[in-house]
Symmetry: C2
Subunit: 221 residues, 2 copies
Amino acid sequence: MARLRVHNVTVSVDGFMAGPDQSLDHPLGVGGGRLHEWVLATRTGYRLMGLDGGSDGVDEDYAAQGEVGIGATIMGRNMFGPIRGPWRTPSWSDSDQPWNGWWGAEPPFHHPVFVLTHHPRPSVTMAGGTTFYFVTGGIHDALDQARAAAGDLDIRLGGGASNIAEYLRAGLVDYLHLVIAPVLLGTGERLLDGDVAAGYTVSRMVGPTDVTHVEMVRAAA
Amino acid sequence: MARLRVHNVTVSVDGFMAGPDQSLDHPLGVGGGRLHEWVLATRTGYRLMGLDGGSDGVDEDYAAQGEVGIGATIMGRNMFGPIRGPWRTPSWSDSDQPWNGWWGAEPPFHHPVFVLTHHPRPSVTMAGGTTFYFVTGGIHDALDQARAAAGDLDIRLGGGASNIAEYLRAGLVDYLHLVIAPVLLGTGERLLDGDVAAGYTVSRMVGPTDVTHVEMVRAAA
């Protein structure tokens, strides 16, 4: 069966996946942008930004792995955008369009993306094969829809922290690639809070670069 | 001035410094013993256990650094032993002596050790130059006493998690060597909880072995 995989999710040494006060200027909260410097420096990071170049090596190998064999993505509302509550055109937008994600007219997914939300909204088809579906039925419903869309391919699970934590608690995540960056945030959204990681085990941990890569899988029962 | 240093403090990937239910059989709580496998494998770990052998390399370099230039140690009651409340002979002890720490008749400190407690107790002099002093006046009092005892040397700050967190929050720690072990505990005592690490910064992070070493210092104001 298709696996539910998490890749490139980066936390600070004190365990925060995003800083406080997410906004248009600070998609990962204040200070949270530093978490992702490692991936932006890789060849995959460059490619996702539409650039040539970037580094090869262990970081690149991990970054690239997140793109392999994925047929659908699930993400939480907080990863899709900074808007809370009902869908609307952001007051700071110079467009009359509703918020369609951080990724511009041609998002880098190129497959169906299921956005978990409490607020219904029609699906939006973007250039390049990405369609955003807005799922109000909860995490199991989103996973069922993503499985149907992905066929034989795997499903990638995106943030925010609370979205990943909810799938972890339900035991639905098959593989989690966590990255620990040399950053202290002091506050923000913690990923592995309380007993979120109970039932999982570390299968590999390597850190020859600026960051440490931790691979987690479900623990043997 | 003498520095207050923390060394070899090991947390799980989910941030716990000890598992739940500390006891005689589980000094680091259930599951917590796995955290320290890395240090027990080093030459310094072997030496502290009274054995020859052990590994050289990065882990050993870090482990050994914690013994260099230290003239006094401060630790919390929870590192000194599993007893809570007033001092007494443990019911599971086969001795009629009060609890004198985990380390036997000749503890590996060989200098004055200040144990923070709410319960007064006369000092205890052990073989090999270690004297345990029991400090009821709080963290600043313990630091003053340790500075006086250490002279020109530094002071090493020991656990438990709440003890280190209290000194971090007060901005009194000059250097913290944190180790992240490839373990998930799911519950226990978290070290870098809330904003404990606010005011600190990561100066170095390396992980070529099974664990990742993180060095933290006070952030520039």
